[in-house]
């Protein structure tokens, strides 16, 4: 899952980025409103975390502009103001959810997962597929009832495939989704993760479509 984070406070931004990466998200973090605005227009994100008090460009105006350009990525806004008006203004401008400061990382993660689930149409919190059970909330994976330890990137890849069952995902697309801009990606990273998934779970869990990509078929 690739997340766009726009937050000007260095400590909060760093904490969210580090924390979410621990949960298996790929996070692109911008402190400046204009840069953040541009990056959503250029890259594919599964969700956006947007602080409202930003330098360069105000969060609400960024949000309005995205929506007017047909961008449908779920947006979670962060507000320091406790007042209802600002939250309503945020929701009216096209935000999908909001979090008032101070919040905890687990809350951010839970809200993001809920937003992404809602977007991909998967409502059940647990995803079951061919003996694999994945909980997006706890990030835990079970195979035939036994817990399997996966690295954050493997978990992210598994989740991506599970949420896009019966769709062929290209290698580039997968790279885009599970890596942030500042991650170093080796040319065969996706192949390595797929290999690990097959080894740890089941060798037929993911099908390779030659030269196109990978698919999980029901």
């Amino acid at each position: 899952m690739r997340i766009l984070l726009i937050e000007d406070d260095s400590l909060i931004g760093d904490g969210i980025k580090t924390g979410l990466e621990n949960f298996g998200f790929a996070v692109d973090w911008f402190r400046d409103g204009n840069e953040g605005h541009e990056s959503l227009l250029q890259a594919q994100y599964d969700a956006v975390i947007l602080d409202l008090g930003l330098p360069g460009r105000d969060g609400l105006s960024i949000l309005k502009d995205w929506r007017s350009r047909g961008k449908t990525e779920p947006v979670l806004i962060l507000t320091a103001r406790g007042d209802v008006d600002e939250r309503i203004a945020g929701l009216n401008s096209g935000a999908d959810d909001y979090l008032g400061k101070p919040f905890s990382l687990k809350e951010v993660q839970a809200r993001l997962n809920a937003l992404i689930r809602r977007k991909s149409g998967v409502v059940v919190p647990e995803i079951n597929y061919k003996g694999v059970t994945f909980n997006p909330q706890t990030r835990k994976t079970f195979y035939q009832g036994k817990e399997i330890t996966l690295s954050p990137k493997e978990t992210a890849l598994l989740e991506l495939l599970l949420l896009n069952r019966n769709k062929v995902l290209s290698k580039e697309m997968i790279e885009n989704k599970i890596y942030a801009w500042d991650d170093e990606v080796s040319s065969n990273a996706v192949e390595v993760h797929i290999h690990h998934l097959r080894k740890k779970l089941h060798k037929d869990i993911v099908k390779t479509i030659n030269k196109i990509g990978y698919i999980m078929e029901d």
């Binding site: 909060i12 406790g82 687990k106």
Partner: protein, 450 residues
């Protein structure tokens, strides 16, 4: 003694005054009426006596009946009631020759002559005049019962005073009504105030309030307004403070969580702990500034008393020393020029230091690397400039607003520094000026009257 309320006191006072006036008027009227009645009847008595004294009483036996009848007739014509007038004619030696047939028979023959006198006759008081007849052979006495005169006076007095008594009653009633009506707005005001909730600081309704009370309601409204503003300031300060604490708290919370989940990765853990320490410093500084700010606000009135000479050179040197490490970290050159007078030379040195410290702190914090921060105190001016810095004109006007920090600050700041500088400057009747100059961005403290 408990004072009766104004309305009752006014009423009692008015009743007493008007009663006194009424009684005085009554007494005077009574006197006037009795004088008039006396005058009238005296004239009448004299006329009758004169007439009797010019009569020839020698052949009294022949003419007696005729004269008597005629006189009685005359008197009857003049007065409806003649019983109260009596007369008698005596010879010089006191023999009663003739009388009116009723009271006259008791008149004594001798007594005061030529003028009126009061005599007790047959148990009643009479006013009697005696005249000697023109031929000096007879004495004529004419008298009138005083009770009758008094009755007439009483009748006159009653007739005269009745409308006044009614008028007096009407007047009192009108005064009571008027006072009740005039006092109604005051009573309403009192009720309003009594029923007011403690947090209701809206102004009193001044419609229909009499002009005399307006200064009072005006003063109360002024007080209410002041209190309202103070509470508002207090409320917004608390709200702003709470809001300002949210961001540092979020940073702490988030970094703490990162630290907790990085237990198995020492590098990540250390990084998170460093960030946590940074966050705590930031929160600490904010709390310090909040406390300083609220102390200045709270002590606003008590301050001018604590006045002692301020050693600006010592304060500035100390602050420059304290900030040397911070300046060196950014390769900033700190320049001091304390060669003249400051805009205020007496006051609370702690606050003077707090003001200058905030000025220097801001200058160093918002300075780019390798700039010069200069502190100068001369020409009645305290000036702190940082070179290589310019502040946008539209941001200049927000400076000094509580908690204003231009968005995107990477440095830790509370947004209270300039507010504190301005508050302290105001305490010593100084103002704060911001300007982009050749020396960079300068913050100056100047006397208000300049």
């Amino acid at each position: 003694m408990k004072k009766l309320n104004l309305r009752v006191r006014l009423l009692i006072f008015l009743i007493l005054i008007s009663a006194a006036v009424f009684i005085t008027a009554g007494v005077l009227s009574w006197k006037e009426a009795s004088e008039k009645v006396d005058e009238f009847f005296d004239t009448y008595q004299i006329a009758l006596a004169r007439r009797l004294s010019t009569t020839d009483w020698t052949n009294i036996t022949h003419e007696m009946q005729k004269i008597s009848d005629k006189l009685v007739d005359d008197i009857s014509n003049a007065e409806d009631e003649d019983e109260s007038i009596g007369f008698a004619v005596f010879s010089n030696d006191g023999e009663r020759i003739f009388h009116d047939g009723e009271n006259g028979r008791y008149f004594p023959p001798f007594g005061r002559k030529g003028s009126f006198g009061t005599e007790r006759i047959d148990g009643e008081k009479w006013r009697v005049i005696r005249l000697t007849s023109t031929d000096n052979r007879f004495i004529v006495a004419v008298g009138q019962e005083l009770d009758y005169r008094n009755e007439i006076v009483e009748d006159m007095f009653e007739e005269f005073m009745t409308p006044w008594a009614i008028g007096w009653g009407v007047m009192l009633l009108a005064i009571i009504l008027m006072l009740t009506k005039e006092f109604a707005p005051l009573n309403r005001l009192a009720r309003q105030l009594k029923q007011r909730k403690g947090d209701d600081l809206s102004p009193l309704d001044e419609t229909d309030i009499p002009g005399e009370v307006k200064p009072l309601t005006g003063a109360v409204n002024y007080l209410l307004n002041q209190t309202q503003e103070m509470l508002q300031r207090e409320k917004s300060f608390i709200a702003d403070s709470a809001h300002e604490l949210r961001s540092p708290l979020t940073a702490l919370k988030v970094q703490l969580e990162v630290a907790q989940m990085s237990a198995d990765d020492p590098q990540k853990l250390n990084n998170a702990l460093d960030k946590l320490a940074l966050g705590i410093n930031r929160a600490e500084r904010l709390v310090e500034q909040l406390l300083a700010f609220s102390r200045i606000e709270a002590g606003f009135d008590s301050l001018p008393g604590e006045s002692s000479p301020i050693d600006w050179a010592q304060i500035a040197t100390q602050i420059a020393e304290d900030y040397t490490p911070a300046a060196q970290a950014k390769n900033i050159n700190l320049a001091l020029d304390i060669t003249g007078r400051a805009p205020f030379e007496h006051g609370n040195p702690v606050w003077a230091a707090l003001m200058l410290k905030n000025m220097v702190d801001n200058a160093i914090k918002y300075s780019p690397e390798s700039a010069t921060v200069s502190i100068s105190i001369k020409y009645n001016k305290i000036k702190v400039c940082n070179s290589n810095t310019m502040v946008d004109e539209d941001k200049l006007k927000h400076l000094g607003q509580r908690f204003y920090r231009p968005a995107g600050q990477k440095t830790t700041g509370s947004g209270l520094g300039i507010s504190i500088i301005m508050k302290i400057a105001a305490l010593y009747r100084c103002r704060v000026a911001f300007a982009n100059t050749d020396e960079g961005f300068c913050v100056s403290i100047l006397p208000l009257k300049d």
